[in-house]
């Protein structure tokens, strides 16, 4: 029992410090060039790791008790954590990009209002917006509209631009998350 308390307190202290220096850091990106993917990566990594540590802190008490008692992970907890981590990843990416992009605004709105992310592909929705693209491209355009957050209200031209930026950010996100997952020590896995 004292173990749990100590860890909780350390994590609390740590998150406060995290928030302190992240808040100080968030004043800084004017010095950096916010357009370059490296700075985007660092911004995303900072935000995501903060959120990740928060998620871990949130789940750690029940997690520790369950793991210390039975040392077996229930899959529901992992799935819930997975959802939270995914949400955190998307939200931190949208925050890192900022409000200048339509997709980041829409994504942040979705995350904040607990709308389902990227599940609207299965929703049978008839969109009457003929985007001027002839023939079978309309289906594909609608598909792309549902994939890119906030793409339903864009015209085709803006949709392509937002898609390009979204792809860039997604690749950066995948890269950073891959790095985090790879740099975890092997004893971190169950």
């Amino acid at each position: 029992m004292p173990n749990i308390r100590t860890i909780k307190t350390t994590q609390k202290a740590k998150t406060t410090t995290f928030s302190s220096y992240s808040s100080s850091f968030s004043m800084q990106p004017m010095h950096l060039s916010a357009e370059t993917p490296t700075s985007l990566k660092t911004m995303f990594a900072l935000r995501f790791l903060r959120a990740y540590s928060k998620i871990n802190r949130y789940k750690s008490p029940s997690r520790l008790s369950s793991s210390s008692s039975s040392s077996s992970s229930s899959s529901s907890i992992v799935i819930r954590r997975c959802k939270r981590i995914k949400l955190a990843a998307y939200a931190s990416m949208a925050r890192a990009v900022g409000p200048k992009r339509a997709w980041s605004r829409a994504l942040l709105h979705k995350v904040l209002h607990r709308t389902r992310l990227h599940r609207s592909v299965t929703r049978p929705k008839v969109s009457g917006a003929g985007s001027g693209v002839a023939g079978g491209a309309i289906n594909r355009t609608d598909k792309l509209r549902r994939l890119v957050p906030g793409g339903k209200r864009m015209d085709f031209c803006n949709l392509l631009g937002e898609t390009a930026n979204y792809i860039q950010c997604l690749t950066a996100q995948v890269h950073v998350m891959q790095g985090i997952a790879d740099s975890l020590p092997p004893q971190a896995w169950f």
Binding site: K14, Y21, A137, Y166, V174, M177, L184, P185
Partner: protein
């Protein structure tokens, strides 16, 4: 231009043998002329706007009538000459050039087919070509008349439309000449140059549209701005598609919008699935080891910072085993000592981050914080001393170079 005209007249009067003898000269000169014409046409296309449309259409009709009447050889040359002369009088540099290149190309082609019966063959060939020409000109003259009416209306309206009408009138003439040039190998080049020049000099970018759909030209006056906007939009779309093509791997081979959209959709979906998979992977991590996140954070930040890879390798190799060494001890700490140990580091951290420093300093701060939080089983004295040393090192070293300061802290920690 003026050099070529008398030469052609001479050729009309020459006998067959002399023509045979001069065939080689013809070819050489023809090549030279074509090259020079191409250059000239590019140069003279732009200022050649000051032509009168009526003159041009009259000349075309004249030449058409001549072709229908079946004039003899000389007459046929005269047709060409009148055409080219008409072009000359009209000041139409490009059309003039095309006319001459066509006439210049005629004799060697025929002569190569059959050396003997030159005039007869030439007659046949010219008849064929005149048939073609007749059809073409019937179409183009209709076009031209339409354009003439349109241009008159426009001239009444104002001078702003003149450029447009002239650009429109330019296209039928060039198409006639290029259509007559079908036997010639340089017709492709001519077309290319005409297309290029029309692209170059047309601020009115929808010139090509009324060329193809000419019936809509009058109604198109109302929709001109729309078509212009549509064209701009299309250009934008194609540009962004190109950008996406560079972005999506494996999209370079695919041509066509539908295939590219498919590829883009697949790529976005795969990326989203990858994010899901990675979050699943991260969710499966034991959350007890989350204090190593500081370390990862440091690593990510350092890797994000350019030029610090050499120090990154060292510090990562050094810090990881140390932190893992502290792992078992970390759990056996009592509450009171740990809180006391953490507070100073917390304070120093706030102090250092509140100072206006650049990015590497915050790296080092987080690094220091990682060390402090993981080594919190040490005494308060040690941690305060640590922070003091850190402060000193920062004050002394960091203004000059932050990376060496990072290494110093690293060494300091190893000494501990």
């Amino acid at each position: 231009m003026s050099r070529a005209l008398p030469e052609m007249l001479q050729c009309a009067d020459l006998t067959v043998l002399e023509r045979k003898g001069e065939r080689m000269k013809w070819q050489q000169q023809q090549q030279q002329y074509q090259q020079s014409y191409l250059q000239e046409s590019q140069m003279s296309f732009i200022p050649s706007f000051q032509t009168e449309m009526l003159e041009l259409s009259m000349m075309q009709e004249m030449s058409k009538n001549g072709a229908e009447n079946g004039w003899p050889d000389l007459g046929k040359y005269q047709i060409n000459d009148t055409e080219s002369a008409a072009y000359l009088t009209a000041g139409f540099g490009a059309g003039e050039d095309y006319g001459i290149s066509r006439t210049a190309s005629c004799p060697p082609v025929v002569g190569e087919e059959k050396g003997g019966d030159f005039p007869v063959l030439e007659k046949m060939v010219v008849k064929e070509s005149s048939k073609k020409r007749r059809a073409d000109k019937a179409a183009t003259c209709l076009k031209a008349n339409d354009v003439v009416e349109g241009t008159r209306d426009k001239r009444l309206k104002g001078d702003t439309n003149e450029e447009e009408s002239k650009a429109a009138e330019q296209n039928p003439t060039t198409t006639t000449t290029t259509n007559n040039n079908n036997n010639n190998s340089s017709s492709i080049n001519n077309r290319e140059t005409s297309a290029d020049s029309s692209k170059e000099n047309s601020k009115v970018s929808d010139v090509q549209k009324p060329d193809y759909i000419h019936v809509r030209a009058r109604r198109g006056q109302a929709t001109d701005s729309h078509s212009l906007a549509e064209r701009v939009r299309r250009e934008k779309i194609s540009e962004r598609m190109k950008f996406l093509q560079d972005l999506v791997p494996g999209c370079n081979k695919i041509t066509g919008k539908a295939g590219m959209l498919d590829e883009i959709i697949n790529y976005v979906q795969s990326l989203q699935r990858q994010v899901e998979f990675l979050s699943m992977k991260l969710a499966a991590v034991n959350p007890r080891i989350d204090f190593n996140i500081d370390n990862f954070f440091l690593k990510e930040m350092l890797s994000g910072c350019n030029g610090s890879y050499s120090t990154l390798g060292v510090s990562q190799e050094l810090t990881n085993p140390v932190l893992l060494q502290f792992n078992p001890m970390h759990q056996g700490v009592t509450c009171s000592g740990m809180d006391m140990a953490i507070n100073p580091s917390d304070i120093t951290l706030r102090r250092t981050t509140s100072a206006p420093l650049s990015l590497p300093d915050t790296f080092v701060d987080s690094y220091f914080h990682a060390n402090g939080s993981s080594s919190n089983n040490w005494d308060i004295d040690l941690s305060t001393l640590y922070s003091g040393d850190f402060q000193q090192g920062r004050q002394s070293v960091f203004p000059s170079q932050s990376l060496t300061g990072n290494l110093e802290v690293n060494n300091l920690k190893m000494e501990m």
